[in-house]
């Protein structure tokens, strides 16, 4: 049977994103397998079973294999993988955490990722995000669950200079957020 084609929620925005200057570059990230992990205690045994040490410092993320482990709460993480299907990832993580009283749920399609790079990224985010994104506070390895405009997002700091941030947003809000970002970037599209 013919393959099923996938459609990205932000396909229609790709041209507008491409027209943005390098100071506020926005790209929609490809689909990525993601599970929501719930677990009471993180110890060496769990880390060994998972193959990654889940971060326990609030509002941080760490590289995890091909993906990332993002702290969402005292007992909740997002775990992503670029070399497994959503089903494979959920099955692997679920079997790893079940013995420890944990759970794992495939949430790959719950959110989509946007990558924001450039010198003006902080300025754009500051027009709609109330938390402090200064590199002294929000460098590489930082994460935050917050709102951007009126959309709930997860922000991941990808650099120590504040010019590289990943934004995870609920798929249904992606179009709103894309419009919002383009509108916010308008001020910088006339920079010489």
């Amino acid at each position: 049977m013919a393959e099923l084609l996938r459609t990205h929620p932000l396909e229609a925005w790709s041209t507008a994103f491409a027209d943005l200057p390098g100071t506020v570059a926005v790209t929609a990230e490809p689909f990525v397998a993601t599970v929501d992990v719930r677990l009471g205690t993180v110890d060496a045994a769990v880390s060994a079973a998972l193959g990654v040490g889940l971060p326990t410092a609030p509002n941080t993320w760490v590289p995890a294999g091909s993906g990332r482990a993002v702290w969402l709460g005292p007992d909740e993480w997002l775990l992503t993988s670029t070399d497994e299907t959503p089903e494979e990832l959920e099955a692997r993580v679920r079997s790893a955490v079940l013995p420890f009283g944990g759970s794992a749920t495939d949430v790959s399609a719950q959110r989509i990722g946007l990558r924001l790079t450039g010198a003006r990224v902080r300025d754009v985010l500051a027009t709609g995000c109330s938390i402090d994104l200064h590199p002294r506070v929000f460098g590489r390895g930082s994460s935050a669950q917050t709102t951007l405009g009126q959309a709930g997002v997860v922000l991941l700091g990808l650099s120590d200079t504040g010019d590289d941030v990943a934004v995870l947003v609920r798929s249904s809000f992606a179009g709103y957020l894309a419009d919002w970002l383009l509108d916010a970037a308008l001020e910088f599209t006339h920079d010489s």
Partner: protein
């Protein structure tokens, strides 16, 4: 030269460039750096408007936001009501006119951009006068993150209005070097034209930046016109200076009467002489600077009228050297003139008694009654004020965590003192943040301050005339006078808050910047109580008016409220769907064909589903993954019915109630594994139900080993519905035996399509044979199109929420929130079968034991059929019945209930409705009436299930 009152040099204006503007229909010119007020004064024009109640001519009484009178309407570049001529920066092509208290909003949409920025700092300094600049420099040199905001077009504060000297050079040279130094610090944000208007807990300060107004029509369209800054500061240094206050006397509102300090500002900053012949009335030393500066600039100063018994020997000598007469122990009791002051009436003043007045000719009357520290931001942050008897002013009366006041705002009025106080405040702020102070925080040397002679606190000059204070204006904008305060006190009002509301003093655009403390003083005098006991009215944000457009920012138009869309949204748009807002979701309501209205489209869609096959985008349904060994226990406790007995592979309908036993949500539950369920909620209830589960799990039953995760957007869900749905689903998923025997109602099966996992569930919200197809939304469009392709031979019809509503209502399925209102139990809905009699407990169970729960007259869900088979009952209609004699009972006519859902039914061939009716089930078969457009429409009460009550269709 723009105007006869413009001097040839000096000031902060660019004489090389001339701007054209129009005021009250007259052409005028000005320069960059002018305000509308300074440009009008340069032309010799003082009168700006007439007053709101009395129609008295009013002019420019101050040089900035404290002006109580000079309100204008801007017409070009964009209509804006009620701005102060003193705060409107002149731009080429500006068109404005004075307004008597009320302006006019634009009748066209404002196309300018407005936005907001969040900004975090260690130290926020408000005010770029000497104290603020010293504070900002001190903090910046330590490496702290600093923001400096100031509402003027350039830094300098009071230094812009005088001729001060620092380090032996003009003070503005130091201002320029300080601004340049701040610009070199990468962690410093310096904003001019930015008014901090609100100060809140924890260092949260709101400020409005006017970014492009001064550019007029040349403002770039891609920049926001105004920006709201949302500062979060570890420490705030309030260096907002002080407002001069007038002394109240009769006819003190004529154009040409202004604050003494304002005249210095117009002279030094704008190069404008506010008159030719001046009288200066004062109670303190500061107004002498105005008298001397104007004299040097060529104004004939007729007299300095000083109310103090002692006066100021030093100042008097300075004036005598300049040939300016000083009249000690004298006051201005009144004025003459019509559109402009022509004479000041000056009288001896001793022991509170006024002697006989003599008229002194003048076209400018300057007044100073002392200075009120601008404590607004401190007071907004709940800082207590104390009254200083000597200054006659309210000062910060306590230390606040994270907010300090420096300079004139704290009652420090000399330049050296302001610089030192700014540095002190910044050092403390930086130290509190744990940042070491810079080695070098040198500040310029100011001349040794001269201690001024003691001021006299004088709120008003006694009015011995027949007018009795009725022309002694306290709040010029409100036309409120001393007589009005006397009337308030005479009416028994004692609280300054009551006096404010009785007189309306302090409620205008300026929020009492000049009138507020005067009112406290005059009220105290009239009551014979100390001013400190009278106190002030409460300072509330905003400090100056803020346009709603600025507060709305970018949350307008398409960005007003997020539109949530499903993975199929573009398909729906292409298919011509008419959308309905369901919460923030955009859901297709119906898919009209050319020429169809909604009624026709819905009848067609309904018929297609009941006779063939339809397909719905149900992706917005709330979905919650519930995992853990105690998952079944949690669901047993939250649903009214038993979920633990559900077999893996099966589906059960469930009702959820609040602790009061009232229905809060319903939906279906799929058991995925022994320790895993998928809970489906209503579209609108998704977040609420997840919160509800978390609340109970976290606060009441933390021992339960269960986790709940939202998967609403993890699954795109398409109900394929109708007698031919089995053919369609069977064709797309050949691996699945879709026969009724192999795939019974209320079960689910997992399968794959081209390797992609798909879940099928036999759930029906229409009573028809139906399969809900769920897939990862990445593949939603592909799967939807496969289903459409397979359904084409059967005329598969996409249908929207309206058809979904009709189909479910025909089956009596309630929609929680439409057919219920928070007072409805499962029993009222006819869902007693879904309430477990055997479970030990569940949320809401206790309430079902209340006697009233079984009351026969509770409102119950029933069906209604209009007897005329034609009337569509409006939803929300009341239901009444006739008395035994066939007449309506006397008013108020008892209401039996109301229509909750009402539609035309293709299946029934007539309209029908659902309703909550008192004792409704006992009325089945009877007739009640519904008033529709003034007519009582007879309707038959029926059971709630009007189509296929036997349930014969669900298996096709």
């Amino acid at each position: 030269m723009t105007g006869p009152f413009r001097i040839s040099e000096g000031g902060r204006i660019d004489r090389a460039t001339t701007l054209q503007f129009t005021f009250d229909g007259q052409p005028y010119t000005g320069h960059p750096g002018d305000t509308l007020a300074s440009a009008l004064l340069a032309a010799g024009r003082h009168q700006v408007a007439t007053s709101i109640k009395l129609g008295r001519p009013r002019g420019i009484a101050a040089a900035w936001a404290e002006d109580p009178s000079g309100l204008v309407q801007i017409e070009e570049p964009f209509p804006e009501p009620m701005l102060l001529a003193t705060t409107v920066e002149l731009s080429d092509g500006l068109v404005a006119h004075g307004v008597p208290g009320q302006g006019r909003l634009a009748d066209v949409p404002d196309s300018a951009r407005y936005d907001a920025v969040h900004h975090h700092v260690d130290v926020l300094v408000v005010g770029a006068g000497p104290a603020g600049l010293a504070a900002a420099l001190t903090a910046a040199r330590s490496g702290a993150r600093v923001a400096l905001v100031d509402e003027q077009s350039e830094a300098g504060g009071s230094l812009l209005s005088g001729s001060d000297v620092l380090d032996g050079a003009p003070a503005l040279e130091w201002v320029a070097s300080a601004v340049a130094e701040l610009a070199g610090h990468p962690e410093v944000l310096h904003l001019q034209r930015t008014t901090a208007f609100g100060s809140y807990d924890d260092g949260f300060v709101l400020a409005l930046e006017r970014r492009t107004d001064h550019l007029g029509a040349a403002a770039p369209r891609h920049l926001s016109r105004q920006r709201v800054w949302r500062f979060r500061a570890s420490s705030v240094v309030v260096a907002t200076g002080a407002h001069e206050r007038p002394v109240v006397f009769a006819d003190n509102d004529r154009p040409g009467i202004m604050l003494a300090g304002a005249a210095r500002t117009f002279l030094h900053r704008y190069g404008v002489l506010p008159g030719r012949e001046a009288v200066v009335a004062t109670t303190n030393d500061s107004a002498y600077d105005a008298a001397l500066d104007l004299h040097r600039a060529g104004v004939r100063v007729q007299a300095v009228v000083d109310a103090r018994p002692e006066g100021s020997p030093r100042r008097r000598e300075e004036c005598e050297a300049a040939g300016i007469p000083v009249l000690p122990m004298s006051v201005v009791t009144g004025t003459q003139g019509v559109d402009r002051v022509t004479h000041a009436l000056v009288a001896p003043f001793a022991d509170g008694q006024v002697g006989a007045a003599a008229a002194i000719a003048c076209d400018l009357l300057l007044v100073s009654g002392g200075w009120n520290p601008a404590v607004h931001l401190f007071s907004q942050a709940r800082g207590r004020l104390r009254y200083d008897e000597a200054l006659g002013a309210f000062l910060p009366g306590e230390q606040l965590d994270g907010l300090s006041v420096a300079g004139s705002a704290a009652g420090v009025f000399d330049l050296a003192g302001c610089l030192a106080d700014g540095r002190r405040a910044a050092r403390a702020a930086v130290a509190a943040r744990g940042i070491p102070a810079a080695d070098d925080d040198r500040l310029p040397v100011a001349p040794e301050p001269v201690v001024p002679a003691a001021p006299l606190v004088l709120w008003r000059v006694p009015d011995t005339s027949a007018a009795g204070g009725s022309t002694q204006f306290v709040d010029l904008q409100r036309d409120a006078t001393v007589a009005d305060i006397a009337r308030a006190v005479g009416a028994g009002l004692r609280s300054i808050e009551h006096v404010k509301r009785y007189t309306t003093i302090g409620t205008a655009h300026d929020q009492g910047k000049t009138s507020g403390i005067l009112t406290s003083g005059i009220t105290a005098e009239l009551l014979g109580t100390p001013v400190r006991d009278t106190g002030t009215t409460t300072f509330r944000p905003p400090y100056t008016p803020v346009a709603f457009a600025a507060l709305a920012g970018r949350d307008r138009g398409r960005l007003f409220d997020p539109e949530r869309v499903t993975a199929l949204h573009d398909w729906h748009v292409a298919a011509g769907a008419v959308f309905e807002d369901v919460g923030q979701w955009k859901r297709p309501r119906h898919y009209p064909r050319p020429g169809e209205d909604m009624a026709a489209a819905v009848l067609r869609e309904c018929a297609a589903v009941r006779t063939g096959v339809g397909i719905l985008d149900g992706s917005t349904l709330g979905k919650i993954d519930v995992q853990g060994p105690d998952a079944a226990v949690l669901l047993d406790r939250l649903y009214t019915n038993l979920m633990s007995s559900l077999a893996v592979g099966s589906v059960r309908y469930g009702v959820m109630c609040g602790v009061d036993g009232m229905v809060i949500d319903d939906g279906t539950v799929l058991r995925l594994a022994e320790d895993r369920f998928l809970v489906l909620t209503t579209t609108g209830g998704a977040a609420k139900v997840l919160d509800w589960m978390e609340e109970w799990g976290q606060t009441e039953w933390p021992d339960l080993r269960v986790h709940c995760t939202s998967v609403t957007e993890q699954w795109a869900t398409f109900p394929v519905v109708g007698p031919r749905s089995r053919d369609v689903v069977g064709a797309v998923f050949p691996d699945v035996d879709v026969s009724a025997a192999a795939f019974p109602f209320m079960t689910w099966r997992d399968t794959t399509l081209a390797g992609v996992p798909v879940r099928l569930a036999r759930i029906s919200f229409s009573g028809e044979l139906a399969f809900e197809v769920s897939v990862n939304p990445w593949y939603a469009v592909a799967v939807w199109e496969r289903l459409l392709d397979a359904g084409r031979p059967y005329g598969i019809t996409p249908y929207g929420t309206e058809t979904m509503h009709v189909l479910r209502a025909e089956k009596g399925y309630p929609i929680i929130g439409q057919d219920t209102d928070g007072t409805v139990t499962p029993h009222d809905l006819g869902l007693a079968w879904a309430v477990s009699a055997t479970k030990a407990d569940f949320v809401g169970k206790r309430s079902f034991a209340r006697a009233h729960n079984a009351h026969p007259l509770r409102k119950q869900l029933v069906g209604l059929l209009p007897v005329d088979r034609d009337t569509l009952l409006p939803e929300g209609s009341q239901i009444v019945e006739f008395a035994a004699d066939g007449q309506l009972p006397p008013p108020p006519v008892p209401m039996l209930g109301h229509v909750t859902s009402s539609y035309r039914s293709a299946e029934l061939g007539r309209p029908f409705a659902l309703a909550l009716v008192k004792g409704g089930r006992a009325r089945i078969g009877g007739t009640v009436h519904v008033p529709v457009n003034g007519t009582l429409v007879p309707v038959e009460v029926t059971g709630a299930v009007l189509v296929d009550p036997e349930g014969a269709r669900r298996d096709g």
